[in-house]
Symmetry: C2
């Protein structure tokens, strides 16, 4: 069967794609989708993405952990933000986390009408690709970007997925070709390449170099978070 | 003075940029902006970009040449479309051409509120960059794309401009970094690289290989078309 894989470089372009019959992979490498993958892999029961910090408050009395971040910093009074080091097993196993982020949650909400929405990061790259290979649907890789703008780190991850899936797909868009080529330039030193990004400069100003390094590790997780209703949970049967 | 150069990868993202004080370079390599540069360089008095084929008809009784194209083909009854070979001196010198195209004209119209709107193509790359270097404004490189989607050929041209201007600018966005890297991969064989593009496959189906090769020539024109009112005319004093 002919299969199409496309890359949507920012959420602002999502309306150009017919996603109802597709699998959408949401990508926000620094740091939302990396932390989501790590948290689900570490046994979090669910992670609930919300669009606004204020939406978190609706969950305050249910015993959930509340994670809120704006412009890369933890919002005062919340349990934690987007750092993957907050999503270790001792903190999240068996727990539900309510998460709001600047860009990742927005992309997730825009992707909801897709046939299936899953979460990608370098941490679960191989597990994600192995699963995508076994499906019979088209794939849209949705980069969360930065305030609706293109960013490098999400794009090179999309390129890594295109590179891995290319032999099984027949249709590619120009964004996928570009993403794959950028990944080929970046892959031998992801950290140095991401260092060219304006977003990473913002991140460095926040003193989260360890977070960045963590998010660029390959294949330390097997979990694939999938959107079920309002919750991200572990995809079963992989 | 700190100067910023950014790349808007598709017209659908133009609202993310504050262009009122900037110079916007409109880019539609295959083939609108290549033909516009070639036509102005060959002495066309003006080229008037319009958004709809029907808008051309408003100019029908003024003795202008009418150029209309949709989805890469000349519209029946018009003088010509977007092929640069229609914009030779013997056809256009001293004439005004009314031009409508699928993507380029749309980008031009969206850029109108900029401080200045000029036209870029590989044909006038060096002349354009030389002029941009002497200005004191920020620069936005606006890729026309294909039906609001990212395309390779416009992006690598944007990358060529970023590459040339980098020493004089202080602020770059991630799209500019990516475009420059893609250009570095493409520059030794632009035709082969553009061959990876979905759009170029559509072009090849239209049997316009000679057009594509023509549009990928470097620096055969000195003219920089600039938008004045509704008209694209030669920038004076360069």
């Amino acid at each position: 069967m002919p299969r199409k894989i496309e890359v949507c470089l920012t959420p602002a372009l999502i309306d150009l794609y017919a996603i109802e019959e597709s699998i959408v992979v949401v990508i926000d490498i620094l740091r939302a989708t990396s932390s989501i993958v790590y948290g689900i892999d570490n046994g979090a029961e669910a992670i609930i993405p919300v669009a606004q910090v204020e939406d978190c408050l609706n969950y305050a009395d249910r015993g959930y952990l509340l994670a809120a971040e704006r412009n890369g910093e933890v919002v005062e009074g919340y349990n934690f933000g987007n750092s993957p080091f907050s999503y270790t097993a001792d903190k999240v196993a068996g727990k539900t986390v309510v998460l709001t982020t600047t860009n990742g949650t927005k992309a997730l909400h825009l992707a909801r009408k897709a046939s299936q929405v899953v979460i990608g990061s370098f941490l679960n790259l191989q597990a994600l690709c192995n699963w995508l290979k076994t499906q019979d649907k088209d794939v849209l890789l949705l980069c969360a970007g930065w305030k609706d703008q293109f960013n490098l780190e999400d794009t090179i991850f999309a390129g890594a997925v295109v590179h891995e899936l290319r032999p099984l797909f027949t249709d590619f868009d120009d964004a996928g070709v570009a993403a794959e080529d950028l990944y080929s330039m970046a892959k031998d030193n992801l950290r140095a390449y991401v260092g060219k990004s304006a977003h990473s400069h913002r991140m460095m100003a926040l003193n989260i170099e360890e977070d960045i390094k963590f998010c660029l590790q390959l294949n330390i997780c097997e979990a694939i978070p999938v959107l079920e209703g309002d919750n991200l949970v572990a995809l079963k049967g992989i």
